[in-house]
């Protein structure tokens, strides 16, 4: 116990004396938390729409003004021909072309049927897809309005299916509510993962590890002596982040803080074990940094933070299950937004405990005092 205490004293002193490390540990994550949620917004707005109007009728004007007033579109130009509109897409001035054929109004009145044509620039797939979907909805609405006007009684008789949806746990579809907890996980992961990965390697580089290796310090004491300081820092960072989330973004955890922190504490053990494992395999800090970067990158992209896991192919889903980050993002979102209980996140707990045991056991095994 005394050895462990001495190791901890030493680690904490070294961390707090490292003037380069402190801002990385405490300030950088907070700056990221203040910037990233504002930028990482997947709502599609400001879609540039080029309108090719070959009809020039009252209806087309009504229709376009309805589109413009939806708030999602910016009408970038009216054209009478398709070619100049296409030029706008080529120059990235427009995302979608709405083409209204000649005789649109006449057809609509006479034959009760008219068509329009949508062309989307699918280089930005999200914008194209969502933009077309929005336009479809708006045009559908417009269609209904006309029908109501013409056939007030009949239309009611025909009946349309009107879908009313309600958004549970995030009624206003506030993007911050969804992103902030995830980004909080990202920050804790980056700080914890990198610092742990670099630490033992640093001792290898400066040669102090050899001195440690000729002392009676035991392997587990050394590893735990490294683990506890970073674990504490992870807890502190998460807490600061949670406070920022509350006071800056108004994200107040619905569920139990105790449950959240219990999960966090296990997650940190798993994450730091991963970092230390990299540390024991690397010969210098550069190598450790690249390896850690490679894995943390995969963890992030596969974690469901930016891309929904449900949309992934089965093999990718398997990988997401094998990264500790995925489960934590899941759990943070569930506890913070839904107020989930322990019974809801049992599986994630099990996964995380397994990660913690395997990664740390591996790190201790692979750290050799005698080569």
């Amino acid at each position: 116990m005394r050895t462990l205490r001495l190791l901890l004293e030493k680690e904490f002193r070294q961390i707090f004396r490292d003037k380069g490390l402190l801002p990385i540990l405490f300030i950088m994550p907070m700056v990221q938390l203040l910037i990233m949620p504002l930028a990482a917004n997947f709502d599609v707005k400001n879609i540039n729409l080029a309108v090719v109007d070959r009809d020039h009728s009252t209806y087309t004007q009504q229709m376009v003004s309805k589109i413009a007033s939806s708030g999602y579109f910016r009408i970038t130009g009216y054209y009478t021909d398709y070619t100049p509109a296409m030029h706008q897409i080529e120059r990235e001035k427009a995302d979608i072309i709405l083409e209204i054929p000649a005789h649109f109004e006449t057809d609509l009145v006479r034959e009760s049927k008219a068509s329009v044509y949508l062309a989307a620039d699918a280089i930005n797939g999200t914008k194209a897809g969502l933009g077309s979907a929005y336009l479809n909805t708006i045009l559908g609405d417009f269609n209904n309005e006309i029908r109501m006007k013409w056939l007030p009684t009949k239309a009611a008789a025909v009946g349309t299916i009107d879908i009313t949806s309600s958004n549970w746990f995030n009624p206003e579809m506030n993007y911050h509510l969804y992103m902030v907890p995830g980004i909080l996980v990202l920050l804790v992961t980056m700080v914890g993962g990198f610092i742990a990965a670099l630490n033992i390697v640093k001792e290898k580089e400066i040669g102090t590890i050899e001195q440690i290796n000729v002392t009676p310090i035991k392997k587990w004491q050394f590893i735990i002596g490294k683990m506890i300081p970073f674990w504490t820092i992870g807890m502190v960072d998460f807490t600061i982040g949670l406070l920022l989330a509350r006071y800056v973004y108004g994200v107040i955890p619905v569920g139990s803080l105790l449950l959240l922190y219990s999960f966090l504490s296990i997650y940190l053990v798993a994450l730091l074990g991963f970092g230390l494992l990299i540390s024991t395999y690397s010969d210098n800090q550069l190598q450790a940094m690249f390896v850690a970067f490679f894995f943390i990158m995969i963890f992030m992209l596969m974690s469901g933070l930016f891309v929904s896991v449900d949309n992934m192919p089965p093999w990718a889903k398997m990988i997401t299950k094998l990264t500790p980050v995925t489960h934590f993002i899941d759990v943070v979102r569930m506890i913070v937004l839904k107020g989930s209980h322990f019974s809801d996140i049992k599986m994630q707990f099990l996964y995380e405990i397994a990660f913690a045991v395997v990664l740390n056991g591996w790190a201790i095994l692979n750290y050799r005092k005698t080569a």
């Binding site: 005394r2 050895t3 001495l6 190791l7 004293e9 030493k10 002193r13 070294q14 004396r17 490292d18 400066i206 040669g207 102090t208 050899e210 001195q211 290796n213 000729v214 002392t215 009676p216 310090i217 005092k369 005698t370 080569a371």
Partner: protein
Amino acid sequence: MSEKAIVCKDLTKRFGDFFAVNHISFDVDQGEIFGFLGANGAGKTTAMRMLCGLSYPTSGEATVAGYNVFRQQEAIKRNIGYMSQKFSLYESLTVRENIRFYGGVYGLSDKQLKEKGDELITKLGLEKEAKMMVGSLPLGWKQKLAFSVAIIHQPRIVFLDEPTGGVDPVTRRQFWDLIYDAAANGITVFVTTHYMDEAEYCNRISIMVDGRIDALDSPANLKKQFDAASMNEVFYALARTAKRSAD
């Protein structure tokens, strides 16, 4: 003392088909200052690392402080001190904190740490620097401090790997005074060096060539044996026979 501090028989370390250390045998008496010489790449550091329990021997036998180097490394580690070529105190800790850390992990109590620490700091004349970061001390002071810290727990043997590399002659002289003090206190000193004047200070020396020990005796006897005026000449005579290129 009659008991041997180190007994080494046919100790070998092989990397692939390269014999870094090739069947070396020697004994070191308790309280002796044993010089371990050899050109760069002759295998000194590898041999020393095996004796310190940092590296597994490929074959042979050795006991250090009575413990087997194959099976009892942790017991060896409790009974030795070690100072490597690389400076290995923590530069971002103060003199006192380093003493506390390294002394503490060998099981010294707070009271012992205080006493030993005070004694050590007075002896080295570091009273003013006790609260300074070790990183800000001059190299010679660092080396003397590292040595003193390496023997703070009164080990039976201390291993020194080129402890005076890059140190000025005056400080080297002071460093050897510390070594004599330690030996007088019954600590066996196992030291590698490239300075032949230092070799003369040792009770006995061995000279390694290409992984083997080609000469082992007191400096006076070696000079007689090789019909040389100085240890320098003895070293040249042996090192010239080396087939391995130095690293």
